[in-house]
């Protein structure tokens, strides 16, 4: 579903990604771990076609990037620690706007379905700026799954959420994964991703330094992570 070969990204003289190779099969839930500044967000932004690679080959959902970026974006849902929502529009208006941008014709049924899934049906007519951080993040997930994407990218989705909101987010993430969607998520919260992901990759100094499935961790995730950074 995602294939990346020899990906390089430079910002001026600074090289952030140094020949990164990465592959995700359909239905996998990959947790992308790494210290601050490792290049996780840059990598996800390139996969989301928000940033151009300097060098390398990328294919997402069978389409090459950046040449067929629009086709990739139609199959992609992205959630970041920013909600990407308009505070002066209601929850429903925000989703309706994105439904139009994704070419969903009569979106009423889908909108109701998504609002129900993220537990915001009762607040559908409230302005987003009146929402708590957790509610905004739930609506952000609603926005990202509105067009039923095949691939989902989550960039630190738990940032700034309280325990209850994190639990609700995890419930939605599990539901997304259970539907067979391919998920790549960056996070610093090892305890939380250990329960969610089916594979763990460590990105350090611009390359993937370790990769293991749930069974291949050889102990717990923290030891695996520390080992990957030390190696």
């Amino acid at each position: 579903m995602i294939k990346v070969r020899k990906l390089v990204k430079r910002f001026g003289l600074k090289t952030v990604l140094r020949g990164l190779d990465f592959e995700v099969r359909t239905g996998e839930f990959v947790a992308l771990l790494g210290p601050n500044g490792a290049g996780k967000t840059t990598f996800l932004r390139i996969l989301a076609s928000l940033s151009r690679p300097t060098l390398g080959e990328l294919r997402v959902a069978g389409y090459p990037l950046p040449s067929q970026a629009a086709a990739v974006r139609a199959r992609l849902g992205v959630v970041t620690h920013m909600p990407l929502l308009y505070g002066d529009l209601t929850a429903e208006e925000n989703l309706r706007f994105y439904a139009r941008m994704y070419g969903l014709g009569q979106a009423d049924i889908r909108l109701a379905e998504v609002l129900e899934l993220v537990g915001l049906s009762a607040r559908r007519r409230d302005l987003v700026r009146t929402f708590s951080r957790g509610m905004q993040q739930r609506l952000a997930i609603g926005r990202a799954i509105l067009h039923d994407p095949e691939v989902m990218l989550f960039d630190e989705p738990h940032t700034g959420l309280d325990q209850e909101a994190c639990d609700m987010l995890d419930r939605i993430l599990r539901e997304v994964a259970a539907r067979g969607r391919t998920v790549v998520m960056t996070s610093h919260d090892l305890a939380r991703v250990e329960d969610l992901a089916s594979r763990f990759d460590v990105l350090s100094r611009g390359v993937i330094t370790a990769s293991a499935g749930r069974d291949g961790l050889g102990g717990n995730l923290l030891d695996f992570y520390r080992g990957a950074l030390a190696g």
């Binding site: 151009r52 308009y86 994105y98 941008m101 302005l127 994407p149």
Partner: protein, 238 residues
């Protein structure tokens, strides 16, 4: 997320049409502004203050008014417009909404034209308010059909290049300062043509003398719109 997909899947669903995306972006901006009135009120108050300051600063003899009025009007529109352009893009950037727009599977030029359409609407609303106030303060009739046409053409040119440069400036930390520095040198041909054509109508010059300025204005509008259409994708992508 529905496992039993009721609608078409992403692979079979046609992408949003260009015009649909343009109007969706413009509708979103207008709906949000209708609620907050943040941008329009700032532009309006600023424009009216500029007009008032000019009124106190320069005591105009009636014979001088047709020559000075176009300059005062376009300085007011340009300053108020810059305020609006900055704010309009800042709203997108501050909450990460620009990324949300760029993630949509539409031709990114549609995002530019949608933002341009809403910015143009805001600018025209300010102009609709400013013109009668100026007429009252300076006792000058500004409701000349030709002049209104020039204001429309000038505003399109201003907003066309302003929206593009605002989307560049908003990526920087110094966006508030950077936009006027980038915009005003580039917009000189539009402002010059608009001021000359507006002056021509107010002074009652024959159409033969005004037409070259209108043609120049229309040509710049087309050029700026075409350039923005071609480069917007590169401007907003990292």
């Amino acid at each position: 997320m529905s496992s039993d997909r009721k609608g078409p899947t992403p692979s079979s669903r046609p992408p949003a049409s260009f015009s649909r995306a343009v109007f969706a972006v413009a509708w979103k901006d207008l709906a949000a502004e209708l609620r907050s009135r943040e941008l329009l009120s700032a532009m309006l108050v600023f424009a009216l203050l500029v007009i008032l300051i000019f009124n106190f600063a320069i005591e105009l003899a009636p014979s001088l008014r047709p020559t000075v009025t176009p300059g005062v009007l376009w300085v007011t529109f340009a300053f108020a417009g810059t305020l609006g352009l900055n704010r309009s893009m800042a709203i997108e950037k501050d909450r990460g909404c620009l990324d949300g727009l760029l993630l949509a599977p539409v031709d990114r030029a549609a995002i530019y034209f949608g933002k341009m359409l809403s910015n143009l609407t805001f600018m025209l609303i300010v102009e609709i308010v400013v013109l009668p106030v100026y007429s009252l303060l300076y006792n000058t009739n500004l409701f000349v059909p030709g002049l209104l046409g020039v204001i429309l053409l000038g505003s399109i040119g201003y907003v066309a290049v302003g929206t593009l440069l605002a989307s560049m400036a908003v990526q920087t930390r110094t966006r508030d300062v950077l936009l006027p520095i980038l915009l005003f040198p580039v917009i000189v041909p539009v402002l010059l043509s608009a001021v000359r054509a507006s002056g021509g109508f107010l002074q009652g010059l024959p159409m033969e003398q005004i037409r070259p300025w209108i043609n120049l204005l229309a040509a710049y509008d087309v050029i700026f719109l075409a350039v923005a259409y071609m480069v917007f994708d590169q401007v907003v992508e990292e």
